[in-house]
């Protein structure tokens, strides 16, 4: 994932998020246990935190952006 | 080491003194329920621990200040360079931890014992409202504003409120339970009175306005006296309109706001009310008659008397009472002059 150019990485993450949302929707309208929906939501959240919000930049401030 | 021996002796001495003193002062009211006995045992343990820890800290600090005080001749004297001891720190982390867990365990046992269920318990439905208590005995079909209880028999209270949160507390019984509005939030409280006498149920949760006065008598009597009271309530009650009205007013907590002694409370006093002339908030002067009283009960906000707040009295008495009952109540008010 780190080898991709940032723009392409954005596209890949977006596609994954879209697929997850679609799965979530179908699971949701077919009355599955909530725990599955929580799991998907959690994965989506972590993806956004990691790849869109760059949470590691705050932990390791030397990294990323504005070089 | 010498210092530690002296300090240990002093700590033990002071612990005993503090403990004996606290016990002698009489910290708690009489134990009038079997729950109070259980709870007071836990209080005793707490008092012991408090005495010990207080003495421990105070003696160490005081001893150090007196014995190791600065030499007057050496104003710049510094203390010894001791930065800490992991061993000691671990000891005074783990030992308190163990004590804490043990106390919590005792606490859990104590709680379980206070909640022991007796299937033979007397059931009482308690209703709290601004600002009255009302007690229903579903087994006997009695409603009362006094909580009458037979001694040595567990009582199971089902508590509910008609408006805001109240709290049922009798200090001598030690137990307390908040009284919540809402049909799905009826709470249960059990206790066993072990001493006959007169007590007070106090509202312990701030419920606005006359919260301080939201008290009702609790009478703990012998089984025989309790049966007499039940018979009297059921049988020989006078059926004339005035008495019925009085009973209705009493059981619905009207006297919480409307006194019978001629002094205005949250609402106007009923003594001498009928036939008197009042000024309304609107400035209009009216004569208190049957028609006015009927309107004032059914639709209290419509004709507020000057000097009294609106929105205090419940608005739903019209639905709660039958016309017959309201007429009885008016008859009762009429009789108070």
């Amino acid at each position: 994932m780190t080898k991709l150019s940032p723009l392409k990485r954005g596209v890949v993450i977006f596609i994954i998020l879209g697929v997850l949302t679609a799965i979530e929707y179908y699971l949701g309208i077919s009355d599955v246990p909530s725990i599955l929906l929580w799991a998907i939501a959690l994965i989506k959240m972590l993806l956004v935190l990691q790849f869109f919000m760059h949470i590691n930049r705050v932990i390791n401030p030397k990294k990323g952006g504005h070089e | 080491m010498k210092h530690f021996s002296i300090v240990s002796i002093l700590v033990i001495l002071l612990t005993v003194i503090v403990y004996v003193f606290l016990q002698a002062v009489g910290l708690l009211p009489t134990q009038a329920s079997s729950q109070a006995v259980i709870i007071d045992q836990l209080f005793d343990i707490h008092i012991g621990i408090i005495s010990f820890l207080f003495s421990l800290i105070v003696v160490f600090i005081g001893y150090s200040f007196i014995v190791f005080r600065r030499n007057k001749l050496l104003p710049d004297e510094e203390g010894q360079h001791i930065t800490g001891s992991s061993k000691l720190e671990i000891v005074w982390t783990l030992v308190p931890l163990a004590v804490v867990i043990f106390i919590s365990y005792l606490g859990a046992i104590s709680l379980a014992e206070t909640r022991k269920i007796d299937p033979q318990a007397l059931e009482v439905k308690v209703t709290g409202g601004q600002w009255f208590w009302s007690f229903d005995y579903p087994d006997y079909g009695i409603t009362s504003d006094v909580l009458n209880l037979p001694v040595d028999r567990q009582v199971k209270l089902s508590l509910t409120s008609v408006d805001v949160i109240h709290s049922f507390w009798v200090p001598e019984f030690r137990v307390k339970q908040d009284v919540l509005p809402g049909e799905n939030l009826v709470k249960e409280l059990r206790f066993t009175p072990i001493e006959t006498g007169d007590f007070m149920v106090l509202c312990a949760e701030l419920c606005g306005g006359a919260h301080a006065y939201m008290n009702s008598p609790v009478k703990v009597v012998t089984e025989g006296e309790f049966q007499d009271w039940v018979d009297e309530e059921l049988g020989n009650f006078p059926q004339d309109p005035e008495s019925l009205g009085e009973r209705l007013a009493k059981n619905n907590g009207c006297f919480g706001c409307h006194s019978l002694d001629g002094k205005d409370g949250v609402g106007p006093t009923w003594r001498g009310l009928y036939g008197s002339e009042k000024t309304l908030v609107s400035g209009e002067k009216i004569m208190v008659d049957d028609e006015y009283l009927y309107e004032a009960i059914v639709n209290p906000n419509s004709q507020i008397v000057l000097g009294f707040p609106a929105n205090v009295m419940a608005q739903n008495y019209g639905d709660l009472f039958t016309d017959e009952e309201i007429k009885n109540m008016i008859a009762f008010i009429k009789s108070l002059d």
Binding site: P6, L7, G10, V11, I13, F14, L17, G18, T21, E24, Y25, L27, G28, I29, D31, S34, L37, W38, I40, A41, K44, M45, V48, L49, F51, F52, M53, H54, I55, R57, V58, P61, K62, G65, H66, E67 | -
Partner: protein, 189 residues
């Protein structure tokens, strides 16, 4: 020499400080959103609100796509692609506005309860309302960034404002990632 080094170092340090501050703000705000989540489950338990599923999926997709374009905008400004940055930013803002229209305009209008109708109404309007308020502030921040972007205030080296508002936008998206299943999908009717 030393003075140039000095500025870079101090910009880097400022950046680190600002990032930490922003993330702490997210942490704080997350507790508020978490409190609303607790409210929803405490009052309604495992009850489904029976909302319009199509509309729910639609607004969720809109917000997700806007997050994608936000990410593109941020990457582009750091690569010096000014035109791409502006285009992506404009798309993000437009999608944000359509999300607001979708939730506040359509969903609020068509829901089968009002805010005063029991716990369902209270919870639903509070949660969506609070989120919509954050979307609205996000749109305002992005509009300011757009204005400054058009004035060429951002360079690949210095564009913390873009990063910050992008992160805010993603944060709002993360909240919706949790709220969407909680409000629309979970539980039984």
């Amino acid at each position: 020499m030393s003075s140039i080094n000095n500025t870079i170092e101090s910009y880097q340090q400022k950046l680190a400080i600002s990032r930490l501050g922003l993330w702490l703000f997210f942490a704080s705000d997350a507790f508020m959103f978490g409190g609303l989540l607790v409210t929803r489950f405490y009052l309604l338990g495992n009850k489904n609100l029976n909302l319009d599923q199509t509309l729910g999926l639609l607004v969720t997709s809109i917000l997700l796509i806007s997050s994608f374009f936000m990410n593109r905008a941020e990457v582009m400004v750091s690569e010096g692609n000014h035109k791409g940055f502006i285009t992506s930013l404009v798309i993000t803002i437009l999608l944000g506005i359509s999300f607001l229209v979708g939730v506040v305009g359509l969903e609020w209008g068509s829901a089968h309860f009002g805010p005063g109708d029991g716990a369902e109404g209270a919870v639903f309007y509070m949660m969506t309302g609070m989120h919509a308020f954050h979307v609205l502030t996000g749109i305002i921040f992005l509009s300011l960034v757009l204005r400054n972007g058009l004035n060429k205030k951002y360079t690949p080296e210095k564009h913390y404002a873009v990063e910050a508002s992008a992160n805010y936008w993603h944060f709002v998206d993360v909240v919706w990632i949790i709220y969407y299943p909680v409000l629309y999908l979970m539980g039984t009717i």
